[in-house]
Amino acid sequence: MKVKFFAQIRELTGTASVEMAVPENATVEGVRQALMARGPSWQEALSVNVLCACNQTLCDGATTVSEQDEVAFFPPVTGG
């Protein structure tokens, strides 16, 4: 599964996107927990003020995801 990161989250993790394997019936929250286990910068980047999208639609942590989905984590928006 492809996971994308934007803004502060991209900078803190030093990562714009990763490919990761997910188990069946994985949730977005499960993906977030797995990513936070990667180290302190991941923990910091993904612990607060995080929105998530699945296939470019905003979702919540309970959303289930599978291999072919695109998941993204980003902070609240500040454009315009």
Binding site: K4, F6, Q8, N49, Q56, C59, V77, G79
Partner: protein
Amino acid sequence: MFARVIEADFSQQALFDELCQHDKASQSGAVVTFTGRVRDYNANGAIDGIELEYYPGMTEAALQRLLDEATTRFNLANAGIVHRVGRLENQAQIVWVGTCAAHRQDAFNGASYMMDMLKQSVPIWKKEWADGSPTWVAAKGTDSDAAMRWLTDDKDN
């Protein structure tokens, strides 16, 4: 209707002409445009430009959804949004929203609505530069998650 995310600057005349040319009724008497520009200050003092990041694909889809929503709600004959991304100097144009409608107040309300929703709901993130270093701008309020709810699937609303 047109929704675009671009790096280059845009021409007021070209966007106005495009908006009116594709006014499907050819009868809308009212055209409103809003242009947002980089301000040279923030709450802490002078700034030296901004930098905007976006989510290719999702951002354009959110802008298009905003156009659809405003068109229905305010009975617009046509509408467009153009948002720049990347590094932008002070006073540079950032965003343009345009509406055509038969009635003046619809054109005003449609443009105002799109800007309100855009600031809350479209995946774009802003850095401000000052003294040579950039700072991410914090979102206003703590309810951005709620504000973005309309971007989720209808079944979730």
